[in-house]
């Protein structure tokens, strides 16, 4: 099947297996390696991407389902100049340890900020509840999201 979608701001038209998981399409076909696989069951959030500006776990989306839609990963935020302030905030809060969960955390934070530019701590916690950090640095991550310059 030929997939027509907007990936990181660019329109693409690509032949691929529509039943492939979106995470595999993004990593293998599009070489977007910020998308990490953790549990593969929608539980850990490390493969989170934006689908039409909403956070979704790309391991629970079929590639055929993105036809006609827009997908954004951390690489896309970088290209659009939206990553810098988030990255600075994560670094200054010390919110990155091993870094494996960080792309998913950033995407979930971005999805929250699209909907709610001034979230409370409770709203930040809820937005990040589907992102596990096994270094357990949650307080610093919440602090980082709270301090993102907008």
């Amino acid at each position: 099947m030929i997939i027509n979608a907007v990936i990181n701001g660019e329109s693409i038209e690509k032949e691929c297996n529509p039943n492939k998981r979106l995470i595999d399409f993004l990593r293998d076909d599009m070489e977007l390696l910020s998308v990490k696989e953790g549990c593969g069951e929608g539980e850990c959030g490390s493969c989170t991407v934006l689908l039409d500006k909403e956070a979704v776990t790309s391991c629970t989306v079929l590639t055929g389902q993105i036809n006609g839609h827009e997908v954004t990963t951390v690489e896309g935020l970088d290209a659009m100049g939206e990553l810098e302030p988030i990255m600075e905030s994560f670094i200054s809060a010390g919110a990155v340890q091993c870094g494996y969960c960080t792309p998913g955390m950033i995407i979930s934070a971005k999805a929250l900020l699209y909907k709610n530019p001034n979230p409370t701590d409770e709203e930040i916690k809820r937005a990040l509840e589907g992102n596990l950090c096994r270094c357990t640095g949650y307080n610093k991550i919440i602090e980082a999201v709270r301090n993102i310059k907008r």
Binding site: P18, G42, V61, S108, E129
Partner: protein, 290 residues
Amino acid sequence: MKSNAFYAPETVQELIEVLKLKKEGRDFYFVAGATDFAIHIKKHGIMDYTAIDLTHLDELKRIEAREGFVEIGAAATMARLEESDILRSHGNALAEAAGRVGSTQIRNRATIGGNIVNASQSADTVTASCALGATVVLLNSEGELRELPLEEFIIGIGHTQINSDEVLVKVRIPYGRKPEYSSFSKIGSRKSVAISKINCAAKIIFKDNCVAEATMYFGSIGPKAIKAAVMEKHCIGRAWDEKLLAELLELGSLQVDQAIPTRPSRYYKRIAVKGVISDVFNDIAQREVI
């Protein structure tokens, strides 16, 4: 049938055409949020299948007020249910339940239709919808619709009355007599992103400050949501006060004992049930306008 085929109908007519293919074919799966499906294919090592994607059918995503009921498209996501003003006023328990499912990412994809047809004994929106007296509407390959009560539709864990050429298209929540209050609560192994160990939903209609009608259901204490008939009857004619709550807590434990008399989890659940009953009771108490 060719493996790895993918159909994405955009209209009900196109959906009917695909249902005709499904009737003849094998290894067809309906996919919407795919939050259960992805786990299913991983667990069973399924490599080749035909997917029927329901996420491009706008008609199945709507939540609309109709005459006598709220009609919810089967592909409406948990996030949409949670934020729906119509549901908040005519089916609060369901909006609450949807807001407690999974994580933000899951709620953005998971649908009420998937939650119902997957027929897990822990499905939060099923317990809530049963308490609200929901019916389900199925569409078949001839384009015919059939409507039946949700409670009858679900037979047990993973089993429903759906035929091979049918798809769940709508869920209907009838309007209750006003003033009607409904609520939902659950307990899982952690605060969020948890599958219910026990859940509870209730709908109460008051008259002259006393309970005129009561509907209560529990999930995760049997193969499907269970109606707490004794508790419902106990509420009738009573004021919604501390005395009634204390009695309902004891009846809740008895309900667990009856539902799962031999399961090891009964010792935990006969206490945990009191927590969910208290949550629901107090939420309804706060909403009551006297």
